[in-house]
Symmetry: C2
Subunit: 207 residues, 2 copies
DNA sequence: TTACAAATACCCGTTACTGGGTAATTTTAA
DNA sequence: TTAAAATTACCCAGTAACGGGTATTTGTAA
């Protein structure tokens, strides 16, 4: 299930997209926003897995918003929804971590397709865009997605240790371990009780 | 760590065993009992993983006690501690699910060895015993250890479903799912929050 | 050296799961 | 058909984990 958030200062466009996607199976629109600030609030509250955002927006532009979203929630896919001939802005969106860029003068059907593509973790680039240096992905210095300490703790979680045991083993406080747990859950886009343990067991042999 | 329970109506023998095992690393004596009833209570309270029990005991004999223990806690290994020439009783112990049988006229050192052997899940039979039809293990009709319903629920647990979700999916009550969870934890000898999920994930592909 | 990331730690509240019971009903097998 | 096993369901209490904050210290890189 794709949980979609839309940010776009032209409400009419939002309405059009909403109309198209409302009855689309597998897509749930968790909210819309008319500016960057509102988008960030929306992401924080609803944690979508895909965000469609305009680049030029009031309060905070889509580039800045994307940077923040990708930093805090690297698993969220961002699809930039731009007007034509703003190649410099598009480049910045790429650097900010966007997974796709589609022009506003595209059919809504193609927009839907782009959403599905980026939701799968792939990159979607509008055929009409021709930017030379397109090298998305991998702009954060993190080796993986998690920090050293987080991986260390994840490994202990995989061993079935409780937060208390992990805290004692690493000579840190219980709260600290819980904080790391929560940060990892947020960063990895997990949810629910066992998800982190499931993830830990899955990745256990991949460190 | 072997958590050991001892049942034997001759307290002197218990004392001897305790003396031997007290400083043995890897073995913790969680309690002793002088009759079958007391043994069952002990097992229930302390959940040992290995039980050493006499066959002839007051109130309830070791055979009956073993049957009940193996039914409720199949993971617990039972080592019968018998006097010589009671072959019929030994056969019954086998059928009751004992993992080993050692004669009382054996050195305590050998008793220790027998405990270690059965704790590893292997079968220990005193060399001086010669019963023809020895076919231990597998006396419960259960295919595996769990029932159909329990495996069904375990599979859903492995998928990360909560009890609530599992209940809805199977059209049964939340309490029922929780009961199955608890029964599985008991039968499998697990403990702690994540253990059942870990077990479920481990066995997921082995159904 | 100064900003940013990482690691540390605490607060509050809620929920899912565990651990301890008990018990009725249905199914299966002896 | 009758005893045993399996499935269903509920009670109470405790705790680990989650979800949401905030905040300080310690690195590290610009």
């Amino acid at each position: 299930m794709i949980r979609l958030a839309i940010a776009e200062d032209h409400q009419s466009l939002i309405d059009g997209l909403t109309l198209l996607l409302k009855y689309e199976e597998g897509i749930q629109i968790v909210g819309t926003a008319n500016d960057g600030d509102a988008l960030l609030q929306l992401v924080k509250r609803k944690e979508p897995n895909v965000v469609v955002t305009d680049i030029r927006m009031p309060k905070m532009d889509g580039i800045q918003a994307t940077k923040i979203i990708k930093k805090e929630y690297p698993h969220i896919k961002v699809l930039a929804f731009t007007m034509f001939d703003q190649e410099e802005a598009i480049k910045q969106m790429i650097r900010a971590g966007a997974s796709g860029y589609i022009l506003k003068n595209t059919s809504l059907k193609e927009v839907l397709n782009a959403i599905l593509v980026v939701a799968e973790g792939k990159i979607y680039v509008d055929p009409n865009i021709n930017v030379d240096g397109i090298n998305p992905q991998k702009k954060d210095n993190r080796k993986g997605i998690l920090t050293k300490r987080q991986m260390e703790i994840l490994a202990l979680i995989a061993q079935g240790k409780t937060s208390r045991e992990i805290a004692d083993e690493l000579f840190i406080g219980l709260h600290t371990v819980d904080t790391h747990r929560k940060n990892m859950i947020r960063i990895l886009g997990l949810k629910g009780k066992g998800e982190l343990l499931r993830y830990a067991l899955d990745k256990k042999y991949k460190f």
